[in-house]
């Protein structure tokens, strides 16, 4: 699964730490999600999308391999 959290963060001008705090996870978790090393749970994905005020599909997209 791919995501454009990094872009969305830049648009909203918030840091990884800010986003981490908003969805109550560690900064490392946001970092690994951004670099596609960790796939978040549905709950966390929805929380992240809510922070950006967008539907989940706009932040996270399936890849062919999924």
């Amino acid at each position: 699964m791919k995501n454009n959290i990094r872009v969305e963060r830049a648009i909203k001008n918030i840091t990884q730490a800010d986003l981490a705090e908003a969805v109550s996870v560690s900064r490392q978790t946001i970092n690994t999600i951004e670099s596609n090393k960790y796939v978040p749970s549905t709950i966390l994905a929805m929380k992240i999308a809510r922070v950006f005020g967008k539907p989940v599909e706009e932040v996270f997209t399936l890849e062919d391999s999924d």
Binding site: S24, V25, S26, Q28, N31, T32, E34, S35, K37, Y38
Partner: protein, 141 residues
């Protein structure tokens, strides 16, 4: 995040204390008692001491292994699950290898060590996974 079956964060220090305190106790006991010829019988002095120190190490390792992290989130849960699985695999491989290459008189000793090795392997693997995770987060900023 809601977590089940985990102790509060500060319990790790309690566990570490249990583990560390047993070392001087053990050394002192060894100095004043002859460990090679323990008192015979159940619940004799040396048997109670053996139970006490063994439990202290076990409880200590147990608390270190299963305390919450400072920020307990779903990725930490995943690392914990992976590490636990890895530790069980690794422990059984070691156990099987040791079983093959030791004579059966020593099996009691191996079983006793096995009480701790699973927890030890888990703690090492889990802490390593966290450190590695933090490194990569730092590197990518």
């Amino acid at each position: 995040m809601k977590t089940r079956f985990l102790f509060p964060y500060w319990f790790r220090y309690l566990g570490l204390a249990c583990f560390l305190v047993h070392i001087p106790i053990m050394l002192l006991f060894k100095k004043y008692h002859d460990m090679d010829s323990p008192d015979p019988g159940l619940f004799s002095g040396s048997h109670v001491f053996f139970i006490f120190t063994t439990l202290m190490v076990t409880i200590g390792l147990f608390l270190i292994a299963f305390s919450k992290e400072k920020i307990e989130d779903e990725q930490i849960m995943m690392l914990r699950r992976d590490s636990l699985q890895w530790a069980v695999y690794f422990n059984y491989i070691v156990l099987i290898v040791v079983l093959i290459f030791t004579e059966h008189m020593e099996i009691g000793h191996i079983m006793l060590l096995n009480m701790w090795t699973l927890l030890l392997f888990f703690i090492i693997r889990f802490q390593w996974a966290i450190i590695r995770n933090n490194w990569s987060a730092k590197r990518e900023g």
